[in-house]
């Protein structure tokens, strides 16, 4: 892992050279394309009735998961809200297993018992998607507590939306993480809207990072459409966490889709023009431009990568489609452990 350096800080300027080696950049682009194509297919499958319930897509926010997870080691922990398909894929849960979970199949990463909002993978330290806004933030502190208790040097990276900042659990968790010096990075994905409510309509303090001051915690405000900026901020925060100092990151991003598949893309709470304007900041377009401008990948190579990802997602859909439902006996399995 490339250590965070002063040079990296300059990558917040998109014209600055990337500190990551070219092969890593190609991998980041591949991950971002994978999330985008996966979510597009998920939307299609939802429309076809193959995915039920609530399904919250990550389109527009890809740079956040990709940039931040690039700063983690394989033995670090992640915990997420219910908008977690992206994190699950970037962490390395096979797309087939994630799609199968969305389809509710036995081959899914939660064996069809969790669904879109409850993706889990214990062996990858993927500690779940959690469905109650902000409810998982104390769990992140607990995972940090567990790491510290055992004398480990891992960290826990916790994702939540800006709307969760209004929940008591956020404040209780940040306070305990700071008091007990827990190895946790609290990453707020500020996509501006909690469902259909603009943050400024319900939050007295709209600079989320400022909340860190209440807990004597380091913080940073980050451009979430710039994968290098996210990586840089996450790498610094992760390094601090390994030393026992939690950080609050406010990553400013934007979701291009509705809150969930059942919600409109725009309407009473935001205009079509606003969404179109934001799409000009598309993080994938930004990264591909950078790669082309730097001569690291030409358009043909980018297209080939995209085609490869398309094929992988198509295979995931096929796998999910052809996988069996959980057997009837699964209904009562895992209510209690032995």
């Amino acid at each position: 892992m490339t250590p965070a350096t002063a040079a990296q800080a300059k990558t917040k300027d998109p014209s600055a050279p990337s500190p990551l080696p070219p092969d890593r950049l190609r991998a980041l682009l591949r991950q971002m394309l994978l999330v985008r194509r996966f979510e597009e297919k998920a939307a299609e499958a939802y429309a076809l009735g193959k995915i039920g319930g609530f399904c919250h897509l990550y389109i527009g926010q890809e740079a956040v998961a990709v940039g931040s997870i690039a700063a983690l080691r394989d033995d670090d922990y992640l915990i997420c809200s219910y908008r977690e398909h992206g994190q699950a894929l970037v962490r390395g849960i096979p797309p087939a297993e994630v799609m199968a979970e969305l389809f509710g199949k036995a081959t899914g990463c939660s064996h069809g018992k969790g669904g879109s909002m409850h993706l889990f993978d214990a062996k990858r330290h993927f500690m779940g998607g959690h469905g109650i806004v902000g409810g998982h933030i104390p769990l992140a502190a607990g995972i940090g507590f567990g790491i510290k208790y055992k004398g480990g040097d891992q960290v826990c990276l916790c994702y939540f939306g800006e709307a969760a900042v209004n929940i008591g659990a956020f404040h209780e968790a940040l306070n305990m993480a700071a008091v007990w010096k827990l190895p946790v990075v609290f990453l707020c994905e500020n996509n501006r809207y909690g469902m259909g409510t603009a943050f400024e309509r319900v939050a007295a303090l709209t600079d989320v990072a400022e909340h860190a001051k209440s807990y004597d915690m380091e913080s940073a405000e980050v451009d979430g459409m710039d994968v290098f900026a996210v990586y840089d901020a996450a790498a610094r925060a992760v390094a601090r966490a390994r030393e026992g100092h939690p950080t609050l990151l406010e990553v400013r991003t934007y979701r291009f889709m509705g809150h969930s598949m059942s919600d409109p893309l725009h309407g009473v709470y935001r205009t079509k023009e606003e969404v179109e304007e934001q799409k000009k900041r598309d993080p994938i377009v930004g990264l591909t431009h950078h790669l082309r401008d730097e001569g690291l990948m030409d358009q043909a190579a980018i297209d080939a990568l995209d085609a490869e990802v398309h094929a992988e997602v198509d295979a995931a859909v096929k796998f999910a489609d052809e996988s069996p439902d959980p057997e009837p006996a699964a209904l009562m399995r895992d209510v209690l452990a032995d």
Binding site: A122, H130, I132, P138, N175
Partner: protein
């Protein structure tokens, strides 16, 4: 056999389990330096240090969630609530996180943790500090719920709870902490889900748990004076319920009164009656009656408070009715 208070029996269970397993730790408000609001954790900070006896801020939702997260990393947290009245703030973590984690993760994340603390009314603490939460908690699949009545049961059930790989709710009786009883030294693990006949009898079954065991035993004494032999069945575990023990006793006595601290509506007793009408219907000689707190918040006034609670006299009256003596 040594005689211990309920409080010290719990303390012994915690100490022994923390000595046995380094992954067991205790967290909660005032558990360390202050030695516990009810002194259940007395001496544990000195023996195990601040890493394993963790004083928390007053943030029930938050530290319950810390317990859940720690359990996800393989630790075995014991989360103390100063009272279950405060734990209602943590219900999201108990119900949505702890109880459901194993299931919704497809079996990947067991939750070996204990949530414990005093439950039910004490004396003149007013409406917000006087409430029995068992029917709320026992409703939830994924949880186990125990409510020991004696020092020996308190030790044995807490040790079983700590060793269990599921989230276990331990409801302690605030009014029981000072009660005394014989407690075996060392290994005493009482399997969760087993009722205990606290007093055998032949004429009527009194089903109870936690503090109402004392109420039922006093009622049984009073009934004996009029020649009625009451069997006192202490449920001990509310989830799972020992259905076989309930049915066996009612099959023998043919009459039953269920006693609890909580309110009548959707109470634990309603579940017990469901079992009896289903599995012992042909053995019943009278409808089953229930004795509960009256259907009102707990008043502060001493006289009103006494009138609100289950009492031996109320149990005797109910028993006489199912025996058609009145």
């Amino acid at each position: 056999m040594p005689t211990l208070t309920y409080r010290d029996a719990l303390n012994q269970a915690l100490r022994e389990e923390m000595q046995r397993d380094p992954n067991v730790f205790l967290m909660g408000e005032e558990v360390g330096l202050y030695q516990g609001a009810y002194k259940v954790s007395r001496g544990l900070l000195e023996e195990f240090g601040p890493q394993r006896v963790v004083d928390t801020p007053i943030a029930e939702l938050g530290f319950a969630g810390v317990g859940v997260g720690a359990a996800m990393t393989g630790l075995r947290p014991v989360v103390e609530f100063m009272t279950w009245n405060f734990a209602v703030l943590a219900l999201d973590q108990i119900v949505n996180s702890a109880a459901k984690m194993l299931y919704m993760s497809g079996g990947q994340f067991p939750m070996p943790l204990v949530f414990r603390g005093p439950n039910g009314a004490a004396l003149q603490l007013g409406a917000q500090h006087s409430q029995a939460w068992e029917s709320w908690l026992a409703h939830i699949p994924g949880l186990k719920v125990v409510a020991p009545a004696t020092p020996a049961d308190a030790k044995g059930l807490l040790k079983a709870a700590i060793r269990d790989n599921n989230p276990v709710i331990v409801l302690e009786g605030e009014m029981l902490y000072n009660t005394k009883g014989e407690v075996p030294d060392g290994e005493l693990v009482i399997p969760i889900g087993q009722a205990d006949i606290k007093r055998p009898g032949t004429d009527v079954t009194l089903i109870c748990h936690s503090k109402t065991v004392t109420v039922a035993l006093k009622a049984a004494d009073l009934l004996q004076e009029s020649g009625v032999s009451a069997e006192v069945v202490d449920l001990r575990s509310l989830r799972p319920l020992d259905e076989a023990a309930i049915v066996a006793s009612v099959t023998k006595t043919n009459r039953c009164v269920v006693v609890e601290e909580g309110w009548h509506h959707c109470g634990v007793g309603a579940q017990v009656v469901d079992i009896i009408q289903r599995d012992a219907f042909d053995h019943l000689d009278a409808p089953v009656l229930r004795v509960t707190q009256v259907d009102a918040p707990m008043p502060y006034n001493k006289v009103l408070e006494r009138a609100a609670k289950s009492s031996p006299e109320k149990v005797v009256a109910a028993a006489r009715r199912v025996l058609y003596l009145d």
